[in-house]
């Protein structure tokens, strides 16, 4: 931070730094990219997996819903079918019941029996009707209407057993003749255990056991198979709407009592009972979901890629900024005097502190030029704005001042010539400059001021600002810069500075200057004074650049 401590850096060094910067940045970018690339695909894959898992579970749920809905509908239809079939059972039972009662009442009279059951034994519902004795040892039919009963071809013991079943109670008994040559079902009925007669009838079943379903019936979207009994025995199929007797796939069944046996109704849907949309829903969800999941994964990949690129860029930019700042700082400090001139009888101290704000360097500078025996030109200046351009303007002004001072120009002439060098309209910058010609022998300093904060004179009696005649800053318009001289007592210190030491954002310069004035007293040496001021007034390093310079007399 001490100007005189700054090591000089030649142009060659800067060029080397700049070219090295390029390859470094590339290496960093590559390293970051390598790290990122490993994770670049992981996040999109996780997104895809999670999305697909969600899609899968949604599909599965939809399929399960569809399945349970279909099962529920099918069960409803089977129950409905069972109810319809149960309603038709009395069609077979009631004529036989009537015949049984009639036979008991008429003691098996042929004429009335024939009159009752004859019309029902010509194919529909029966192919054969007959009357049998209830308790004969070798039972033979007493009356036969229609075809000869298949029952008659059985053994006497078999016939006895069957007829006994009919007399257990007053209900329909079923004889399974499905596997006989005629494929019939036998029904018998009696009035009960006291019965003398048993009425018997046989109904024919279709030879192929097929029964079409009416296309406009309530069950047209279902296939069914009706079994005798409770098991799905293919030999016991009474009727089926399907070619194969065994129904496969989704089935539901209902058992209903039929005489002293049971009917088993098994149904399967031909299509979707709940409509095709519900059936396709799992596939729709699956298909759309997979597309969306892949889109999400792709989008995530792009976002991850974009973020990785942005981070690479940010790292690179930060690196470039810090490099640029260090290059600019080196440049600026190389523009400041390497060491103060040695003048007999004059004590000098300087400090320069770059501001902490941002990357841009400021345009502050100071200079001490030996202009002859016992004379030193002190200069403190501040170019408006920040950055390399401001530093460049500062450099041109500094060297111009050195040239004019070497030619013997006084502070006023120097500032007049300076004001023609730059223009705020053309260069975008103006500068405040304080020039003071120090005369060691006379112990006087003659100032000209182009818009710069007034210097401070510190004596044993306190600190007071020197009321220089403040002209317009250089670069604004051609101005006049009248001089004023101040006598500095033997114990006095003259302090010149840039606004970084006192200026605070949003605060009147008067307040900051007063703070500086109060802080300037009570130091034993120039170095202690400058270090103390920087420590007290810019404790956080200061936002702005600060140049500060102090002169005093030495015996």
């Amino acid at each position: 931070m001490v100007g005189t401590d700054v090591a000089p850096s030649g142009t060659g060094t800067h060029a080397a730094q700049l070219s090295a910067l390029g390859s470094d940045a590339g290496a960093i970018s590559g390293a970051v990219a390598g790290t990122r690339r490993r994770f670049r695909h992981a996040i999109p894959i996780v997104v895809a997996v999670v999305a697909l898992a969600i899609v899968g579970s949604l599909s599965f749920t939809a399929a399960a819903l569809h399945d349970s809905n279909e099962n529920r509908l099918l069960r409803q239809r089977v129950n409905e079918a069972g109810a319809v079939i149960a309603a038709t059972i009395p069609n077979a039972e009631s004529p036989l019941a009537s015949g049984a009662i009639l036979a008991e009442a008429t003691h098996g009279e042929r004429a009335s029996f024939t009159k009752l059951l004859g019309p029902l034994s010509t194919g529909t519902p029966f192919v054969s009707a007959s009357l049998w004795p209830a308790h004969a040892v070798d039972p033979k039919p007493l009356i036969v209407l229609g075809d000869a009963p298949e029952l008659a071809s059985r053994t006497p013991a078999g016939i006895r057993t069957f007829l006994a079943r009919a007399t257990v109670k007053s209900s329909l008994a079923l004889l399974d003749l499905l596997n006989s040559s005629e494929r019939r079902l036998g029904y018998s009925y009696s009035v009960g255990p006291q019965a003398k007669y048993v009425v018997y009838a046989e109904a024919a079943r279709p030879p192929n056991r097929r029964a079409a379903v009416d296309s406009n019936s309530a069950f047209s979207n279902l296939d069914y198979t009706i079994y005798l009994g409770t098991g799905r025995d293919p030999r016991q199929v009474i009727a089926s709407s399907s070619s194969g007797p065994k129904l496969t796939g989704r089935t539901a069944s209902d058992t209903l009592p039929f005489g002293d046996s049971n009917l088993l109704i098994v149904m399967t849907p031909r299509g979707e009972l709940g409509g095709s949309l519900l059936a396709r829903l799992p596939w729709l969800i699956g298909g759309l979901g997979i597309v969306l999941a892949l889109a999400a994964a792709l989008l995530t990949e792009r976002l991850v890629l974009g973020r990785a690129r942005a981070e690479e860029l940010a790292t690179l930019t930060a690196r470039l900024f810090s490099e640029q700042r260090s290059v600019a700082q080196t440049l600026q400090q190389s523009l400041l005097p390497e060491k103060s001139p040695e003048v007999e009888g004059l004590g000098l101290a300087v400090r320069y502190m770059p501001g902490a704000a941002g990357v841009d360097i400021g345009g502050d500078w100071y200079d001490l030029i030996d202009v002859g025996p016992g004379q030193v030109m002190l200069v403190v200046g501040d170019v408006s704005g920040r950055g390399l351009r401001a530093a460049t303007v500062m450099a041109s002004l500094r060297y111009a001042i050195r040239a004019y001072a070497a030619e013997g120009d006084g502070p006023s002439e120097i500032l007049i010539k300076m004001s023609k060098l730059i223009s705020v309209g053309r260069d975008g910058h103006f500068a405040t400059v304080l020039c003071g010609l120090v005369d060691v022998a006379e112990r006087r300093i003659t100032f000209a001021n182009a818009g710069h904060p007034n210097p401070l004179l510190i004596t044993g009696a306190g600190a007071e600002f020197v009321a220089t005649k403040v002209g317009v800053p250089v670069g604004v318009e051609p101005g006049a810069y009248p001089t004023m001289s101040v006598s500095v007592p033997s114990d006095g210190v003259l302090l010149a500075y840039t606004d970084g030491i006192f200026e605070r954002r949003g605060e009147s310069p008067d307040v900051g200057l007063e703070r500086l004035r109060n802080a300037s007293v009570g130091y034993a040496s120039l170095d202690e004074l400058l270090d103390g001021l920087l420590r007290v007034l810019t404790p956080d390093g200061g936002r702005d650049d600060t140049a500060i310079l102090a002169v005093t007399w030495r015996p």
């Binding site: 408006s384 704005g385 403040v470 317009v472 604004v476 605060e507």
Partner: protein
């Protein structure tokens, strides 16, 4: 009094121009001006002022902060027209103008 131009920049500064009843242009600088937005605001200011204008009043009533870049912006404007008047500067801006020897260049309207 419709704004001609209103440009928000990094430091949240803006410039808007309105017709001045006294002829010339009235320009308002609003918000903050520092190095980050001074160039952009300056370009807008030049657009508002235009080519043929000899009197500009710059109203700083809405200005919260201005650093030396802002002073440079005012000075550039002053260099392009015959008369520039500063209206409603804060005490801070007034003192910066006075302390910097700019009172004759950037005249503060009384």
């Amino acid at each position: 009094m419709a704004p001609v131009e209103n440009n928000e920049t990094g430091a949240h500064g803006a410039v808007e121009g309105v017709d001045d009843p006294g002829g010339g242009r009235l320009v308002r600088l609003i918000g903050e001006i520092d190095i980050s937005n001074a160039d952009a605001l300056g370009a807008n200011l030049e657009k508002i002022i235009g080519e043929s204008c000899d009197r500009v009043v710059i109203d700083l009533v809405g200005l919260e902060f201005m650093d030396s870049s802002g002073i440079a912006l005012l000075l550039r404007t002053a260099g392009r027209v015959d008369t520039v008047e500063i209206r409603n500067p804060s005490d801070v801006v007034r003192r910066i103008i006075e302390c910097s020897g700019l009172a004759d260049v950037l005249r503060i309207e009384t």
